[in-house]
Symmetry: C2
Subunit: 418 residues, 2 copies
């Protein structure tokens, strides 16, 4: 009961603060962000000390090395956090922009104006660098934020939170602008997800289990940053040298991220020409191939792909391969097995390209380029809070603008409706 009251209080405070944040000038926001950035650097040792506590608990509990890696904040990662905060200063403030305006025949002047969303709840797992990034992005876009990080990173998260909270205080920003729910009580998420009176948006950042839980419990609108099962389709009209380069880049350049290729589709008419060399290149780079029966006929000795493989985000040096008999079959496969994230076609045929780009139902569709470009910086949007695989409100890279909404401000001089 106390927990519920406490969380409601936090959410209410966040809402009250959000109304003040929405009116803050860009100058004040930028000054505060600079101070935040400096404070993190100045208190580097405090952060590292707190991180050591989390790391030692995690080791005692026998977490995997990959987990320990994600949890670790070293000088380099702290520098990245510091830079991400100061980098926000240079980005344009989306708040207050008049998106459109027009005048009605009765003289009413209608302005569609960009405003912050209000209060964002971010639920994430063990990467503590997310804490500073999310605080910075929400603050610059004029939103209050409630953070609920993984319990394994709680000491690190609290250290970062306290340092940034002190900066808010010095800049006379209400405490409710940034909130951290650090209780170990597992009911916290369930309670928070019902507070739709105060919280406007929830973004789960983490594995499938977390996202499914949030979607099924939440009364608050959710924007999902879901996994990326991304495809490259090599059409029969592809420039095969280009296709080789693109597939290799999409798979190998950084396999552990959501915009990496997990599945390569190849048109049957060029499969015999393309696959042997491509798979050889992949093998040399240590990529394990799991192929369909047609692939196995063309290249001997490769592992067979199961139905499950086509649904799997490996995030590793593994790729499924499927030979398909048409653009249509490629599109259907992608729409059925993909996650509506990023998918590419390599082709010189205009009609096939148009069909693919139109009918593949993904946030980002590419012609003759690597899927690895789905990223706020690569798109030129700046820092992002994630890649939305949802269709409403924000799709693809979610940068500062996607953390805003709009309102209609209507100017009259006595108009009434007849």
């Amino acid at each position: 009961m106390n927990l519920e009251k406490n969380l409601r209080q936090i959410a209410k405070g966040a809402q009250i603060a959000s109304r003040l944040l929405s009116g803050l000038s860009t100058a004040v926001k930028n000054k505060t962000l600079k101070d935040m950035s400096r404070a993190l650097l100045a208190h580097k040792e405090t952060i590292k000390k707190a991180n050591q506590k989390d790391l030692s608990s995690a080791r005692k509990l026998g977490f995997s090395q990959a987990f320990i890696d994600r949890l670790t904040l070293n000088d380099k990662r702290i520098k990245e956090m510091v830079d991400s905060l100061s980098g926000l200063v240079k980005l344009a403030d989306p708040v207050g922009e008049t998106i459109k305006k027009w005048t009605r025949p009765n003289g009413l002047e209608i302005h569609k104006v960009r405003v912050p969303i209000g209060v964002a709840l971010i639920i994430y797992e063990s990467r503590p660098n997310v804490t500073a990034e999310c605080i910075g992005l929400c603050f610059k876009s004029g939103n209050s934020v409630i953070l609920r990080g993984g319990k394994e990173a709680v000491q690190t998260n609290l250290a970062i939170y306290k340092i940034l909270q002190a900066v808010l205080k010095r800049n006379r920003i209400p405490e409710g602008a940034v909130n951290m729910v650090a209780t170990t009580d597992r009911r916290a998420i369930n309670i928070l997800l019902k507070l739709d009176k105060y919280i406007d948006l929830v973004m789960p950042r983490g594995g499938e289990g977390l996202i499914k839980k949030v979607v099924s419990l939440s009364r608050i609108p959710v924007i999902k940053h879901y996994k990326g099962i991304c495809h490259v389709f090599v059409d029969k009209y592809a420039d095969l040298a280009m296709a080789e380069k693109i597939c290799f880049n999409a798979k190998v350049q950084r396999p552990g991220v959501c915009n990496a290729m997990e599945s390569m589709l190849v048109h049957q008419d060029i499969a015999k020409k393309f696959l042997p060399a491509m798979i050889e290149i992949f093998k040399k780079a240590g990529v394990e191939i799991r192929g369909c029966t047609k692939t196995a006929k063309i290249v001997k000795g490769i592992k067979a792909a199961s139905e499950k493989d086509y649904h799997t985000e490996y995030l590793d040096l593994i790729s499924s391969v499927k030979v398909v008999d048409s653009v249509k079959a490629a599109i259907e496969h992608i729409n059925n097995y993909g996650t509506h994230h990023s998918d590419a076609i390599v082709t010189k045929n205009k009609l096939n390209a148009e069909k693919f780009l139109r009918e593949v139902d993904s946030a980002c569709v590419y012609l003759n380029a690597s899927t690895r470009f789905t990223d706020g910086y690569q798109f030129g949007l700046g820092a992002e809070i994630g890649i939305s695989t949802d269709k409403l409100h924000a799709r693809g890279p979610m940068a500062l603008e996607e953390l805003t909404t709009y309102k209609y401000v209507v100017f009259g001089d006595g108009q009434i409706r007849s």
Copy 2:
């Protein structure tokens, strides 16, 4: 089990159809809409006969006269449905528009392109004219629709559905573009709301109970068209003659709709001057006033407003009245008791106007105009599917453009990430 399988089949069919709809030309969509409009007119008697069945059941079950009114389709209402479909032909097709495009230093050309959302589920109550309107709006914006209407209107809805489905067939549009769930099984909604693999958006149109149920059960993103507790605040710097006109219009011109005023806030410094005449005018128009203690001191013999009154959408000739001591107090009252729909300030003071327009957290905020203008046609957007009281994706009038989303189409010539 059969019901679940059946609904899954419908949702899957709607998704498949949506992929074809998204590529339909504007000409084909407009031709089909014209045919739909003509078909409804041609089969007017069939619709009226079906409506008679629903009306006679509703009378037997003892429904109220207001309910029977909403359920009734007479010649005039059928004509409105016919006109709403043919009116869509004239509106611009939002699909395919390039919202923005830019080229990156590496030569990648990024196009942000407007596309349909996919599959919309609309859950509504007893007004059968909603059926044709929603089919038309979703079709023109390239979305498949699944309709779940109130069981009391099922005969009428089915008649309209069958007439329009025949038009789709003649125009070679897949059946899955328009779907009606007419089963009397009450589990249908619960099952549909879990089909987030196929359905992209749910819009509940109806009372508070329905909306709360949908929000708590749905795994699909919901856009709420919630009630409107709209306010007019008469500032101490108001032109009182203008304020009188605006408050009267907002309350009386059509009290049964969501953008009508439910609560009037008056600055204490002009309350003595403004309230007696205003309340007299309201009384003459048959408006019942429920006032705060300060109001009651100024105008004798009026009913006292309870806390509950400020939370009530009367949709009737009743208004709560509250005297407040500042713009700030007015804003706080509106943000606490309102429903983030439409709120107005009447003032000649620029600073007060700016403060109100910025800090009132509503979809539409007005300066010196009636709240009654919150409407797709009044805004010049054309037909609307509702007024969103949510903040994500669509806020305020939801017309054709708000029934679309975007995707990024990226054109390369071999770009890879380094």
